[in-house]
Symmetry: C2
Subunit: 311 residues, 2 copies
């Protein structure tokens, strides 16, 4: 027995169509979408991370799942564990409150339990949203679709790398790592037209491969086209190594959308200039689930495409 037996058993239980095979960002119940994220100390955040940023991130990564489905925030339920350090907990709640306020997400319930003070904190959030006129699954992509990215990639991974070099590092890249911005408005505008959409949380390459596999297509990504921020370029450059780092770093909370070939979101939707909306590739007929090109020529895939994790 191993971890994948447990995940297979979960999928056997979650047979309702609303579960979308547990393969999508959210469950879809009529016009309601629901998502849940759990984070643990030592796994998803470190004891020395600012507690308010942990709270902010827990809310916004859930909202990013809503953004990827074009849904509107409706309500949240918080699972809070108390580990005898009220200063940490109050600062964590400040981060929760700031994010809920920023994105008009009312906190309406949850549960608070005490943990032994030696146990790592485990924190969870369920977010409910109101679906828009279309809730694109990961699996709706079609051969011939163009792939678009909303936002940039690499900033967060570059910020994390700075922190790994120096725990006291700060600046715009660290800020983006600690305080991701869910692209709710862009998601709502794209969703009615998208064949498939998801948020990029584990790395663009691994997530694009997932979208392609779910859609029974092959994704072709043009490395040269990847949108990089000026802060990222200042830190790591814009060469192939930097682009592969950005494409596999994860924690981006950008949106990846498969759109009909004749639909150009930049032209068709009156989008603000930020976040950027960039064409980064296309979906092809089934074949290799993921291919990379640069300068019109194939590029070998890196060994690691992003974060693999339980579910």
């Amino acid at each position: 027995m191993n971890e994948s037996d447990v995940l297979n058993r979960l999928r056997q239980i979650a047979t309702d169509p609303a579960a979308r095979g547990l393969l999508d960002d959210v469950a879809l119940l009529g016009d309601l979408v629901a998502t849940h994220d759990t984070i643990a100390e030592g796994v998803h955040f470190l004891p020395e991370d600012p507690p308010d940023s942990v709270g902010w991130k827990l809310v916004t990564v859930n909202l990013s799942d809503l953004a990827a489905k074009g849904a509107e925030p409706l309500a949240a339920l918080l699972s809070l564990t108390l580990a005898g350090d009220e200063e940490w907990e109050l600062r964590f709640l400040n981060g929760i409150a700031a994010a809920c306020e920023s994105y008009a997400l009312p906190l309406v319930g949850g549960d608070t339990i005490a943990l032994p003070s030696t146990a790592p904190r485990v924190l969870g959030l369920t977010v409910l949203g109101r679906a828009g006129p279309n809730t694109p699954a990961r699996s709706g992509g079609q051969a011939g679709d163009t792939l678009w990215l909303v936002g940039t990639v690499g900033d967060s991974a570059a910020g994390l790398a700075q922190l790994q070099g120096d725990r006291k590092a700060h600046g715009p890249l660290v800020d983006i790592y600690r305080r991701p911005i869910p692209l709710l408005d862009a998601g709502q505008r794209l969703a009615p037209h998208a064949h498939a959409m998801m948020d990029v949380s584990d790395g663009l390459l691994i997530d694009a491969r997932r979208l392609a596999l779910a859609s029974n297509c092959g994704a072709i990504i043009d490395l040269d086209s990847l949108p990089l921020s000026s802060d990222f370029i200042a830190e790591r450059g814009g060469g192939r190594g930097a682009r592969l780092f950005a494409a596999t770093g994860g924690d981006d909370y950008a949106l990846l959308a498969a759109m009909p070939a004749d639909f150009d979101p930049a032209l068709s939707l009156s989008l603000p200039s930020r976040p950027s909306v960039t064409r980064i590739g296309s979906l092809a007929a089934p074949g290799p689930p993921l291919s990379l090109v640069s300068g019109g020529r194939p590029v070998e895939l890196p060994e690691r495409l992003g974060f693999e994790h339980a579910c």
Copy 2:
């Protein structure tokens, strides 16, 4: 700073009316109700408890919150932590599956994360339900209402006491402790007529006091009237000590309802013979939030009314 500062801060954040001040069993969003319970190893269950009963209980205690609001099960999201013991996890999921199947509750999503194997498991479940024509709050009780109890009290606490004496104890009381039954049907029938309703999870006396305080009334409970099962009486007798034990034991998942004085659920609703529906007291004008009587005379309150816990 202490725990109550954290809980006060939570209440400051959860100001939306849907949150019901975090004082009710569920959040109410239009015709949707939402509830979440988190349980931790060593706090809410023990490593040696049968994992399938832990899964069953996590589902059914959430469903009991729905029952108390007269709501119908709609969907669940599971927060599962993997601690490297797949046999435990598969058996836990068997319990989740059995309860979801028994009560037509589709599992539609959630999150699965890995924990260090030394960390205590923390498991969470969000349950969504469809509200009925009335969703009684805890706070709607009125002076003059009669108090009714659906189900019995004490069985679960008696089962736990058996287990504390002998880890291998078994029998009907242990079964009820391990596998509570949510009273969904009775809750749906009573809710349209109830002024206030809640489930009895922490002990009848502490929960009746909470209902009375929320309703700005005083609850008067007649000890002699408490419904005890024949299994309970066989184990602990039916005297005053046993009745106080039953009224403070908790984990009952009975329903406590404040009904208009002229409404007798036993007469007005075509209820099945089980679970029993018993008149156990009344609500009076504000005064002491809880009074006990027996044989028409006041009885001193026990020092401990039930479980106090974080939220």
